[in-house]
Structure formats: C-alpha cells, structure tokens
C-alpha cells in the first residue's frame, strides 16, 4: 500500500514542477494569455491515450500479470450542473482538487481554505447522493413487492 503513497508523492511533485499549482498559470490559461497548462493537459491526454490504445489493442497485462482494467466513467444526471460548478470554482480558486493538496504541501497556506471547502462539500454531497439513492431503491422495492 505504500506504493500508493509513492505514486501520490510523484504526482504531487510532477504537478508542482509542471506549474499546475501556480494560481497565475490557471488564471492566465482562462484569460487566454498563456496556454502553458493547456499544453501540459493536452500532452498528458495524448500520451496516455496512445498507451490506452495499445492496452486495448494488445490486451496488455500489469506487472503482476493481471489484465489491465480500463473503466471509462459513465454519464451521470448531475454531470452538466456539476461540470459547470466545477469549472467556475476551478477558475476562481486557481486550482483543482489535486493541485490544491500539492499547493498546501508547497507551503501555500491559503490553500488550506480550498482543501477544507472541497473536503466538506465532497463529504456532504456524497452523503446526500447516497441518501437520495437509498430512497430511490427503497421506493422502487416497495412498489415491486406486493403489500
């Protein structure tokens, strides 16, 4: 399990070195003044998609010999609203969930507020979504079982 910690460290380090934790880099991207981060993201997508394609075509295995599992995310009812909320927050805070943690690690103390906000709202939204889901399941089962 320490492998996960190691990959986290690598990811945080790379995000920081690529300039993704810089408030102004994100601001300049959305102001369309400097597209450095667009290049970073696009390169990451292009390189990964090539290897994903290789994985799918040749059904590649992990280092332990299992077949690599690729699970694309599906549509969700809240996708549009959530996407718009996320984008607005991305521009306002100049960070995203991953880089906020890296910022905090870098010693940008103000990111503490961002991280706290993300954590609190994630937990609340998840709890709310879970409750809505269990209600839906309950009402569905009460309808199908004869009284």
């Amino acid at each position: 399990m320490n492998r996960m910690l190691t990959f986290g460290v690598l990811f945080g380090f790379v995000l920081s070195r690529a300039g993704a934790t810089d408030y102004d880099a994100i601001f300049q991207m959305f102001a369309l003044r400097q597209l450095h981060l667009v290049g970073v993201i696009a390169t990451a997508i292009v390189c990964s998609s090539f290897v994903f394609w290789l994985i799918r075509r040749h059904s590649l295995k992990t280092i332990t010999g299992e077949p690599v599992v690729l699970a694309p995310k599906g549509m969700k009812p809240g996708l549009v609203l959530g996407g718009l909320m996320f984008g607005a927050a991305w521009a306002l805070s100049g960070t995203c969930p991953g880089t906020a943690l890296a910022q905090l690690g870098e010693g940008k103390f103000a990111a503490l507020a961002t991280v706290a906000g993300i954590a609190l709202s994630s937990a609340l939204t998840e709890a709310w979504l879970a409750r809505a889901e269990s209600r839906r399941v309950m009402s569905a089962s009460s309808r199908t079982t004869p009284a």
Binding site: N2, L5, F7, V9, L10, F11, G12, F13, L15, S16, A18, G19, Y23, F27, F30, A31, L37, V40, T43, A44, I45, C47, S49, T62, I63, V68, V69, K73, G74, K76, G78, L79, V80, G82, L84, M85, G87, A88, A89, W90, A91, L92, S93, P97, G98, T99, A100, Q103, G105, E106, G107, K108, A110, A111, G117, L120, S121, S122, A123, T125
Partner: protein
Amino acid sequence: MLLGLFLALLVGLALGLFGGGGSILAVPILTYVVGVPPKTALAASLLIVGITSAVALATRVKSGLIELRAGLGFSLAAMLGAYAGGHLSRFVPETGLLFGFDVVMSFTALAMLRGRSTSKRSSGLSARGLFKVNIALYGLGVGLVSGMVGAGGGFLIVPALVLIGRMPMQRAVATSLLVITLQSGAGFLGHYADVDVPWAIVLPMALCAALGSVLGSKLLGRVNPQSLQRGFAWFVLATAVVMIVHQAELLLATSAWYDAVFVIRWPWWLGGLAIALVVLGLLFTTNTQLGVSTGYGEVCRLGFDSSARRSWRPRFLLGIALGGLLASIAAGHAPSWAMGSLDTLVSTPASKLSLLFGSGLLMGTGARLAGGCTSGHGIVGMALGSRASILATSLFMLAGLLTTQALLHYGGL
C-alpha cells in the same frame, strides 16, 4: 556528410515506396547527423522532399494512378495551410516546434498501424459530394501542421486519401506525391524569408534522395505493402522516441541540470509527459485508474468508515501533499500566504480565504455531481475517449473561461 547522403537515399526510398515520410526522416537527419540548426533543417527538408517527390511523381505520370482532381483540391487547401503554418512557426519556440513534430510522428505511426487491409477497398471517390468538403478541411489541417513543423505530411495524406477517399493504397501513394510536391514548395516559400538555405548540403542530399525515390518506385511492385507499412510505422515511432530523449538532453545542456529539474518550471511537453507517466505507472503497477476528487470524501469518512480506511485514495492524497512539499523544498521556495494575482483581486486576507473556501465548496459539490475532476475526467477520462468525460471536461473549460472572462470585464483585473 557521407552518412547524411546515404540516409538521404533511404529518405527517397521511403518517399517512393510510401508516398510520405520524407520530412519525418529528413529533419532528424539534417539536425542530428548533418548538424543543421532546427529551423534551417525544417526549411531544407521541405526543399529536399519537394524535389524528391517531384522526381518520384514524374516516374508515375504514365501509370494513370494519379487522381488529379482530388490531389489538386487537397493540395490547394494544404498549400494555404502550409503557407500560414510556415509563417506561424516564427512565433513558436524551437523546442516546442520539434516536440510538435514528435507528436505528429507518433500519430502518423499510429494511423499507419491502425490502417486495415486497404487494398481490398474499391475507388468510390467521385460519387461522394461530402468528400470534397472533407478533403478541403483535412487538406487545410494537414497543410497547417506540415508548414509549421516542416513535415511534408505524406503520412497524413495517405491515410486521409485511403480512409476518407477510399482510395486503393497504390493510387493514394501516387496522389500523395503530387500533394507533397506542391505542398513542400509552398511550405518552403513560407520559411524561405527567415532562413539561409545551406545549398551545399541541400543539393547533394536532394540528388541522392531523388535517386532513392526512383529505386523505391521500382521496388513498390515487388514488396507486400502491408508488412512494409507496419514495419515502417514502428520505425517512425522509434525515431520519435529517440528525438524526445535527445531534446531532453538538450534541455539539460542549456541550463544546470539541477535548475532544469528542480527550479525552473518544466516546459509544457515535459510536464504533460510526466503526468502521463504517473497515470500509466499507477495503472501498470497497481491496476488503478488515477483520480483525485473521490478521495476527499473518503478522507472525511476515515473516522467511521472501514472501507474508506482500506482505500488507496487517502494515502494517494497524502502523497500529493508530500510531493508538493518536496518540490517546494528542492526549489528553495519559502512558505507564504500569497496566492498570485488573487491577492490583487481581493483586498483582505479574510476575503481571500473565504473566496477560496467558497470555491472549494463549489468545487467539491461539482466534482461529486459530475463524477470526477481534472484528473479523473480531464486527463484519464479524455484519454479513454469516454463521452461523459469529454462532456465534463468541455464544461469545466467553458465555465472556467466564462468565469475568468467575467472577472476580467467586471472585476477590473
């Protein structure tokens, strides 16, 4: 130089056989073997390829394989694109230009590997009206790329003609040579203004390449094009990798290696490559798809939820913060409350923190509703080609763009 001439012969051979790939090979040969500076090499390669494909074209005039109308239509669009691209290349730094070239190389190799048994398809070209629009758009795009990076674009043209135009391979190669001849000429004129052409190098190489192309045309009838195409695709891919490694070396040579790695912000292509390596490393060692935002909820539930305690995500999140710390220490940054230009947008520390907290709230909710964030949807999901992720990422970008533009207009930034 002698090695360069021999390699030029091979370039011509490739052009004659495949109807493309001239510049893809000529640029690295000129830069790394002959030692011409990158921008000059791009212009020189356009000239060499133009001359070579003209010769290869001449050997095929009688064969009746050249689709004149499609070729000319494509060329017209591509020449416009290439001329614009040649001018645009002035505004792009040389390392970026060469990296763009690497990307083009990898993609064309991919396109070639993907190519199915094309010889079975018949020529249904003239019947399709949509084809004209497609060919014009595709031509414009291919021209722009080729003019910017100096690739004649043959390996983009041949797949275009085969896949969109449903041309048999032989015809596509012949027609591609026509396009390349015209397009390289236009691209060269675009570059000509700001480059001194080293004629003493270009002319002998062009001669050798032309010789090779005649040889290639002769060989074409005798070899199985399918297996040749596959072999060549892997070769192109390998060349792209070698070029990337070489560029990384150049980057280290221009500044002290410690500064390049730990202090100066990485160039975009290196940052993107490194992120992809982390994504792929995680996938290949632990069969886990990278994503950050789900972990936030699990961290909050650590106290009472045993499944959250067993999850990999809290550890990964802790790692991200540690990684940031390491990067900051290595770069010698001091900790601070500053947050870039946000400090000019808001006046007091309290308002700054509440703005960040508020957008954090918005972000967490948004990520949970959308089912992912910049990493899960934006990078991994996009790379997987998932429709939900493409939609989510477009919305992220759209809302971000609108928000910042609104701030710029009404916030007095």
